[in-house]
């Protein structure tokens, strides 16, 4: 009785926190992910048209009843104020369709003379093309795979077959690969730089330890944007680094560093290094020094001590550090956006681009799904090969 009551009390105490997490974290993510597989604008504006198109094969132009339904929907949606959003959605499928839809609706609103079919075809010849109607079908279903396919550079034609988008518009597969590649490079550099640093933290005298730890933690206390902006100042053409190089005679004229891949890597490594060093340090600190002395007393040289005693015991720290750095790296947005060039932008940039610039939330959400699924896959792979239990020890 008393125990049950205590549990209820504990649950009640936790309730605000759980509610907070549900409302501010879980729910928004769920809503965004849902947008990646749903389409609401066109069904809201064109219910009759979509109902007629449900049995359409997508090979020839649909029949008269589809035109009649379209005419009704266009006029009704225009009056209800739902037409613009739907036209925008159709336009992101087929450019130019926005104007076609809005202009046709404007004309029909003035009155339809003769058959709807003739009136619509007279308003714009685009209605005589099968793919125009295909756009309605692509944008009219929930759940839909349209956005997810677009995130993989694929699309569905009117008759339902999946094809790759034309060469000059293929983008996201390359971006996904680039995202993973930059994440890999950053992780590798962090490991190479962070491992000796973490070891140094364990072995240096106490006074120096404080200083080193302070240096590692310092970046934590300044905001990400400030640190990125600082790199802009340092790496600019007439920035500090170039001036130093020129003064030392290392280069004859300033080197282009800002807006390059190198700049992105430097800044990302700088920002993420603590996430590598701290787990490594936490694991290394727990390795008894006596083991190294014991190995030495049994005849192991410095290399054998390192490779056979020290290294294997630091692996959980390596795993934790690598995972933390990599997962954060593939989600980086601000740093590449500010100091990277056009070919250095990663998936998060394109999520932001479509959410804010083109207003294509479906595609932005589908790209988010791509990133999330990719991250979870990597996490699963790690769990399988390195063992998450080991990571927990770190």
């Amino acid at each position: 009785m008393g125990r049950a009551r205590a549990q209820v009390e504990a649950a009640l105490l936790l309730a605000p926190l759980l509610l907070f997490i549900a409302l501010t974290f879980a729910a928004p993510i769920a809503v965004i992910l849902w947008r990646g597989v749903s389409d609401t604008e066109v069904p809201r504006a064109f219910p009759r048209t979509l109902a007629v198109l449900a049995d359409w094969k997508g090979r020839n132009l649909p029949g008269d009843e589809a035109f009649a339904a379209l005419a009704e929907d266009l006029v009704a949606a225009r009056a209800a104020g739902t037409l613009n959003a739907a036209a925008g959605r159709l336009n992101s499928d087929t450019p130019g369709l926005r104007t076609v839809v809005l202009a046709t609706a404007r004309r029909l609103a003035r009155g339809v003379e003769g058959s709807p079919r003739a009136a619509i075809l007279a308003a714009d010849p685009a209605w005589g093309e099968v793919e125009t109607w295909g756009a309605f079908r692509r944008a009219g279903a929930t759940p839909t795979d349209t956005h997810l396919l677009a995130a993989l550079d694929l699309r569905r034609s009117a008759d339902g077959t999946i094809t790759a988008v034309p060469e000059e518009r293929r983008l996201f597969r390359a971006v996904a690969l680039r995202t993973v590649w930059i994440g890999f490079l950053v992780t590798l550099l962090c490991l190479v730089l962070g491992y000796p640093l973490a070891a140094a933290l364990v072995f240096v005298p106490r006074r120096l330890f404080g200083l080193l730890l302070f240096a590692v933690l310092l970046p934590f206390w300044t905001s990400l944007i400030v640190r990125t902006a600082a790199w802009m100042v340092l790496l600019a053409r007439e920035g500090t680094v170039n001036q130093a190089f020129l003064a030392l005679g290392l280069v004859v004229e300033p080197v282009q560093m800002l807006f390059t891949r190198t700049a992105v890597l430097i800044a990302m490594v700088h920002i993420l290094l603590p996430f590598m060093v701290l787990p490594l340090y936490a694991v290394m600190r727990q390795i008894p020094r006596a083991q190294l002395r014991a190995a030495a007393s049994l005849g192991a040289g410095p290399v054998a001590q390192l490779v056979r005693v020290w290294l294997p015991q630091t692996l959980p720290g390596v795993g934790a550090g690598v995972l933390m750095v990599f997962i954060q790296a593939i989600g980086f947005y601000v740093t590449p956006a500010l100091i990277g060039g056009g070919a250095d932008q990663m998936l998060p940039y394109f999520i932001g681009f479509h959410a804010t610039q083109t207003g294509n939330w479906g595609l932005a959400a589908a790209l988010s799904i791509l990133l999330l699924v990719g991250t979870l896959l990597i996490l699963a792979l790690f769990g399988r090969f390195l063992g998450l239990a080991q990571l927990r020890a770190a």
Partner: protein
């Protein structure tokens, strides 16, 4: 206690209702230095002359905001300054009142580009080619912008497909009046990208309007695209010596719209009638370098002001108006292609 509370709520409710029915003209603009200048040149003189009060608000754009406000019923914004794209969409959706031009001097009072069914042009501004006169003696054109042999060095462009394609075609010798017709064809888009290919490794992409003057000042780029206002401000405030090429620059117009259902329509017209005065519009230029839209807003100006005024006929007649209808249709697809091109 409880009764007092209810009473208090009722009183506040009445007060709010009172304000809502007989409120002052609410004008919404972009804030910052621009709205400060507007206040000095338009808002305060209007209040002094008419004895009416103006309530100011600011926003940062977005058709969604206007939609929500139009649907809310109780309209609390009267006059809003909008960008050209919001003007097009909002007018189409019926969010704005149709302008009665007879009440504000007739259409002939304004330059033709400033006249729209739902909006009165407020200011005109350009994206121009800018360079640092201290480093580059020549007066470059877009063709020179794409000629890294004759003019070595990096080029700054805004990261995005909009205007980038237009500039590529202009540099390739396409006359201003044919640019958008050509961009509506596949061959035109192809030609623009081929032209961009020629200087791709030399382009530094900027994103925020504050970047181009910084990049010019730091010698990061030899030439850059930039907003004319940013360049003039850098010359005025930071003592820079940047040049502006008006020929084949691209301009757009921000407009005043009257929100549909505004209870202050008459006062709004009085305000629009007040600000249509060319002399008054001209007095904005020394504060912030945006061009007036009334005919004659540039007459009698000093040479230094004429040189930086986007609506100075000498500048305006060699500029190209950005075609928002084109971009509303094609931004999605061309952005995708641009990003793919950028990634190659």
């Amino acid at each position: 206690m409880r009764r007092t509370f209810i009473f208090a709520v009722a009183v506040i409710g009445l007060a709010v209702a009172e304000v809502a029915t007989a409120r002052d003209l609410t004008i919404v603009s972009w804030g910052g230095a621009y709205q400060d200048a507007q206040r000095q040149v338009y808002f305060q003189p209007f209040m002094q002359v008419t004895g009416l009060r103006i309530v100011e608000d600011t926003w940062d754009g977005g058709i969604g905001v206007l939609r929500t406000r139009a649907q809310a019923g109780n309209q609390t914004w009267d006059l809003v300054q909008v960008e050209s794209e919001e003007l097009l969409i909002g007018c189409d959706e019926g969010l704005f009142e149709k302008i009665d031009w007879a009440r504000i001097g007739g259409k002939e009072h304004y330059i033709p580009q400033a006249v729209h069914e739902c909006g009165v042009g407020a200011i005109l501004y350009n994206v121009v080619l800018a360079w640092d006169r201290n480093r580059l003696q020549a007066i470059p054109t877009w063709a020179d912008f794409f000629d890294v042999q004759r003019f070595p060095g990096k080029r700054g462009m805004r990261r995005g497909v909009k205007l980038t394609l237009e500039i590529a075609l202009l540099a390739d010798g396409v006359p201003r009046d044919q640019v958008y017709a050509l961009l509506r064809t596949e061959a035109g888009v192809e030609r623009a990208f081929r032209k961009l290919d020629t200087i791709k490794p030399h382009i530094v992409w900027w994103q925020a309007g504050a970047q181009p003057p910084q990049m010019l000042g730091a010698g990061e780029v030899t030439m850059t695209t930039a907003y004319n206002g940013r360049i003039t401000n850098a010359n005025r405030a930071e003592g820079r010596n940047f040049g502006i090429q008006w020929r084949d620059s691209l301009f757009t117009i921000d407009s005043w719209v009257i929100m549909r259902g505004s209870p202050n329509r008459d006062v709004a017209y009085r305000f629009l009638d007040f600000v249509k005065d060319p002399r008054r519009q001209a007095s904005l230029l020394p504060l912030i370098p945006y061009g007036g839209t009334a005919r004659g807003a540039n007459e009698g100006l000093a040479a230094d002001l004429l040189a930086v005024s986007p609506s100075n006929p000498d500048n305006l007649n060699v500029s190209l108006m950005i075609d928002d209808a084109f971009w509303m249709d094609h931004l999605d697809r061309l952005s995708q292609r641009f990003n793919a091109w950028l990634a190659r």
